[in-house]
């Protein structure tokens, strides 16, 4: 079945550690890719997106993601996390007809 996979369900890091969250999808053809973040008690916010062009995209708050087409991956990275990055992170893939499919989410906990 076509899907979006986030293999890390819960990640715990200390402040200043580097972060990489995996996202793989199984759709063929052209896709648009997103990372959303949901801070505790808040709504989903867009971190970054990839539509076309440079496969390395930079988002807000120092996050970046790299689209590797051959691996069907769109991993999220941040070189040095902060306590305020504690949140749930969702990868999402948009196929044709504006259908947005979400991964299962990764809960990131950053220890001060």
């Amino acid at each position: 079945a076509q899907s979006v996979s986030q293999h890390n369900h819960h990640v715990i890091l200390s402040e200043a550690a580097s972060l990489e969250l995996g996202c793989n999808y199984s759709y063929g053809g052209t896709v648009n890719l997103f990372w959303y973040v949901q801070y505790p008690g808040q709504h989903l916010q867009l971190l970054l997106k990839y539509f076309s062009g440079d496969p390395l995209v930079k988002g807000i708050k120092g996050f970046e993601a790299e689209f590797i087409k051959s691996k069907f991956s769109f991993n999220l990275r941040k070189p040095s996390v902060q306590w305020s990055d504690t949140a749930e992170y969702f990868c999402a893939v948009e196929r044709s007809a504006r259908q947005l499919t979400f991964g299962s989410g990764t809960q990131l906990t950053v220890l001060p």
Binding site: Y36, H43, L100
Partner: protein, 113 residues
Amino acid sequence: SAVISQKPSRDICQRGTSLTIQCQVDSQVTMMFWYRQQPGQSLTLIATANQGSEATYESGFVIDKFPISRPNLTFSTLTVSNMSPEDSSIYLCSAEGGSYGYTFGSGTRLTVV
């Protein structure tokens, strides 16, 4: 990007009753979407709502259970009908944001008792 106001933010309802969730967008948008996020799970698309036409439902969701209205380009409602405890979830609306992507409401946390 558009800003969405969603209400209620939470509700506790008796089984067998219905709840209508409202979403107001601060700008005109062509497409709005309704999602369900069950406890411990990801977001699942319920339906897509275009103004002036019937909503398009995803597999596993039906209009009798989740009727949707889209009376204009800034507003939509989702009704959860004849509720059971299995309907306890967070329900979110979303609007297409063009090159920005998608914007989401703050969600409605529904508990059915």
